[in-house]
């Protein structure tokens, strides 16, 4: 298990958000907050959400995936099934399934989740609470990093 070469963990080096193409967005029912968009207020959604702009206020987004892209800046508490952070977040993050902080992430706040992945270089200031009940492993997640972790686990 500890003898794996670095190449076998190449998936962990992935630090770019998987931004879908326009047809993908339509097919997968994904909302996109673009890089020039600034919003102040309350936001809730029941579909995947990609934030590349600025959000200040509250985000209620349970049972779906939320991605804060590299250009994204969020000053709000975040609730979602899976949360991927590549940009800046100032607020508490609650990920029902998993929270991933990429190496470009800058998070100030507390994280509540069942599982967490934090890449080397990620900046984080706060507490992590992993006391949440973990979801069954059979439930798929869209995070490639989580899938590669499962594969590595089963291989080793």
């Amino acid at each position: 298990m500890f003898n794996k070469k670095k190449e076998e963990y190449s998936e962990y080096e992935r630090s770019e958000p998987a931004v879908p193409s326009a047809p993908d967005v339509r097919r997968r029912k994904t909302s996109v907050i673009g890089p020039t968009l600034k919003f102040k207020g309350e936001l809730s959604a029941n579909e995947d959400l990609i934030i590349e702009g600025e959000i200040e206020g509250t985000i209620a987004h349970q049972d779906k995936n939320l991605t804060v892209g590299k250009e994204g800046r969020v000053r709000a508490d975040i609730n979602a099934r899976t949360v991927e952070i590549y940009g800046q977040v100032d607020g508490d993050i609650r990920g029902e399934d998993i929270v991933k902080l990429a190496k470009s992430a800058d998070v100030k706040g507390n994280i509540h989740c069942a599982r967490i992945v934090m890449e080397d270089g990620a900046r984080f200031s706060g507490n992590i609470d992993m006391g949440q009940k973990m979801k069954p492993a059979s439930k798929p997640t869209s995070l490639p990093i989580a899938e590669s972790a499962k594969q590595a686990e089963s291989a080793g």
């Binding site: 967005v25 029912k29 996109v32 968009l37 919003f39």
Partner: protein
């Protein structure tokens, strides 16, 4: 790719955008377009408040009750 506020999204507050924006969800508040881009309001959208942009494109059949639009308003089928 434009910003897309999907059909299940509910937003209440103030929004400023400098790129194309498509609204399919529910928005209550003010939307301000900062550049020469287009704000498109889909038929299924529910708007309440004020939309101000260079071009506001509204699909035929959209419910615009309690909504003020300003800019170049274009109706689309």
């Amino acid at each position: 790719m434009p910003s897309i506020i999907g059909s299940t999204v509910v937003m209440k507050g103030e929004l400023i955008v400098g790129e194309d924006l498509e609204i399919e969800g529910t928005f209550d508040g003010t939307i301000t377009g900062e550049s020469q881009d287009t704000v498109t309001v889909r038929r299924i959208a529910r708007l309440s408040g004020k939309v101000s942009a260079t071009v506001v494109r509204v699909e035929d059949g959209t419910n615009l009750e309690n909504t003020v639009l300003s800019g170049c308003i274009r109706l689309a089928e």
